[in-house]
Structure formats: C-alpha cells, structure tokens
Amino acid sequence: MRIIFLFISILFLPAPLIAHEAESIKVVVVGDTGIGERAFHSGFEAVQNAMRKEQADAILHLGDFVYQPEKFPSSCPDKYIKEIQETLAQPYSIRIFVAGDSDLEPKMWKPKASGCWDKIAPMATPFDTLAKHNQPDEKWEGVMHLGTALFVVLDVYEWNDPAPWLKPIVDDARRKGLWVIFAMHEPAITTAWYKEKRQTVLTQVNALHPDLVFSGNQHAYERFFPMGIPQEDGTLPVVKKSNYKKGAGVTHVVSGGGGALLKPFADLQGKSKRTAPEAVSDALAKRALMFHYLTLEISHDTLNVTTHRVCPSPPAPGEKQNPRWHADDPMWNNIVLECDGKETGVAVFDQFEVKR
C-alpha cells in the first residue's frame, strides 16, 4: 500500500498575486508601445517610467511592442528584445501579453511587422494549463486567473467565435464571483479606423458578457459606454454612465497610446469609408489622441479603471522626431493632440468603475 501525498506549491507563480478577498490587485494596461525606429521613443520612455512608478502587480500589454523600419526583416534585432525585457517585463511580477500584428511575422498586408513575437512570448507569464483548450498551438490565446479576476487573451487574427471553448470557463468564473476581463489586439469596436464587426466579433464577445474588454492597435484612447449585444440593424444598446453596476453591459476600452505615433481618428482625417457609423460614435464615452496608460484596480467588490495621460517633454531644438503619424500632412493643421498646451507630466484623464 502506497502513502498518498499532495504537494501544494505556488512555485508556478510569484507570491504577490495570491489575493485574499479583502485585497486588491493593481494592473497597468498599455498598448502599442513605442520601441523601434517608427515610433516616438520619448513618448514611450515617459509612459514606461510612469507605469513603473505605479508599482503594479501585473502588466497587461495589448500588443504591438516594436515598430521596425524595414520591409520583411530577416530577423528581430536583440536591441528591441533587451528594451522590452528591461521596461515591460522585469518590472512586473505577472505579464499578460497580447500579440499584435506588428509583432508577428511580416505578411503582404503588414510587410514591416517585426517578427519579434517568438522572442517576446517567452517573457509572458504562461496561461493557466488547467483551462487548456483545443485551439491550434500557433494561436496565442488563453486564460489566467489573477486574484478575483479571470483574464482572457483572444487572438483576433485567426478569429473564430470563442464561445465553444471559452463559455464554460467564463460561466465557471462567474459562478465563483470572479470579474471577467478580455484582452485582444484589434478592437471589436472603434471610431479610429472603422472596420465593421458589429455582427461578428462584437456580438460574439459581448455574448460572453465580460465586464471589460481591452484592445489596442489604434494609436489613441477610446472608451465606450457599457453595451449589450448589437441588434440586427446595428443599433448598440448602451448605458450612458461612468459608474455602474456589474452586469449593466460590456465596457470596451481601446488603448494604443504607449509611444506609437499618434494617428488621427478617421473622421478627423476626412476618411469617410473608415469613419464609424453614427451608432458607434454615439456609444463612445470619451476619446483622445495622447500617450497614456491605464491602471486597473481589481478588488472583490469593484473594478476601478483610471486612464493616465502622459505628456512627454517637448522635443529639443532641432529634434526631428514628432509624435504625429505623417506629421507633414496638412490634415494636422486642424487636429490637436491632447497634450498640446498642457504641461509635461502625468495626469488623470478618465476614470470609471464597475461595482458588484
């Protein structure tokens, strides 16, 4: 007869995130960080310095870590990886990383993608194997339990309705009273550079009833009012509040202001084909062209999200670098950045909370 042993360990994770119910966890959220030659590095430095001072337990990076200059690069330079390691990985105990299209292998429709993902992914904290599902190995998606929240990373570039594998996990989390937070690179809804996803990605994501959905890709900040499942005519049922009860709807936040060049919203550029329909614009609570990051504080009773505007030091005389995408384009004559006329530094730009 054998003796039955159970070894209990937390050797799989750093200690600070074993959250008791009374405690809260702080996560910094950032996307589209400006490492590489096609970004505004001063903006990135200001953002990552401010994030580091938050002393957060975890980082959620929404993808696009590197913007390199060459088409179809043959390799990912180590200088990028070193900077990511030092600024976005080492300062945080837990690292939830989303793969962006600029991180993946270059393709015809994205020839300047860095191909760095194979070196970035090992820096991420592994997803929970307990919830392993039957997705192809090459998909970068999975779930992670942190304190009183379930984080779900979705791969938007090989999109299938995630409900078959994800719904049982989300339902289980909800039964246990956990908050449910999704993260993906390309947004399900945006006014920045519109792609019609109301009856596909947006409907499928909202049908799983996450409390929050974070995405990046658009080099700006957008927050939408909590919304339900889009109706067949495209109408979006929204609750126009900033503080609301859990279950009032799904809040989508687009955060791509980590140092990438700031790109004006399509309507500001006069791009009618990429301008969001009225129903989408009406669902928008707030937006801005600015470098920024978010802090997400998760406690048993509340999800509190604060958006921090980061205004970097003005360029030195003679410095050519400009935070504006296509800075010489005359469209900028009529477009202002959120930091224009404001002091250098970090300030609260937006805040909302969800209460149980």
Partner: protein, 129 residues
Amino acid sequence: MAEGWAQQLKGDVIEPHSAGTDPHGMNERAIKVMAEAGVDISKHTSKHVDDVMYVHFDYVVTVCGHADETCPVFPGKTKVIHVGFDDPPKLAQAAATEEEALSHYRRVRDEIKAFVTGLPDNLEPEPAA
C-alpha cells in the same frame, strides 16, 4: 518538481499529487532543469487545490511559506506538513541572465530532491496522543 521527484524516486511507496493555491501553468524553466536531471515533467499540469480535494491524502506537504498560510483545511486524518523552499520564479525576476535564473531553479530542484529522497522517514513523528 516535487511530484516529478516523488514519481521518479519513490514511486513504489508514494502516490504523489501536486497542486497550487493559485496555479498559472507549468513553468518552462522548471521543466528544463528537471529534464537536465533526467525527470520529464513536461506532461504534468498545473492544478488547483480545489481540483484534488476529492482525494484522501495521507500527507499534505506545503512547499513554500505562502502556501502554508493559504492552504485549505484538509479534514480527517490528513497530516499537513510545511517545508520551506525558496520560490524560483520570484528569485529569477531579479536575475540578470537566463543562466542566473536557471541557477535558482537548479538549486531548489536539488533541495526538493534531497527532501523527497528522505521520504517518508524524514516526516515529523506523530505527536503523542
């Protein structure tokens, strides 16, 4: 790592299970250093304690300080023993190189091996009734 060593060294006298108080997937470095020692744990999964509560354990061994504090109650005759090992992922965060990070894993791997090698004789005797 403890489950891997117990299977390897004491499979004839111990039925080992392992679980975490808040699991986050198998650690690639742990898999690597165990493989160096000839123990394959790559097929193991990171389970939550709740998922093994149905098993009647003779012994529960908590292998770090935090697990000891947050360990669930095991009813009946289960004996709960705490053995303090350093947490390699935590130590590895401060490592300047991958090799330095792996050195923490190797040290803890060897410490766990020494503990498991002495099982079950090195367990505290039951207190007198």
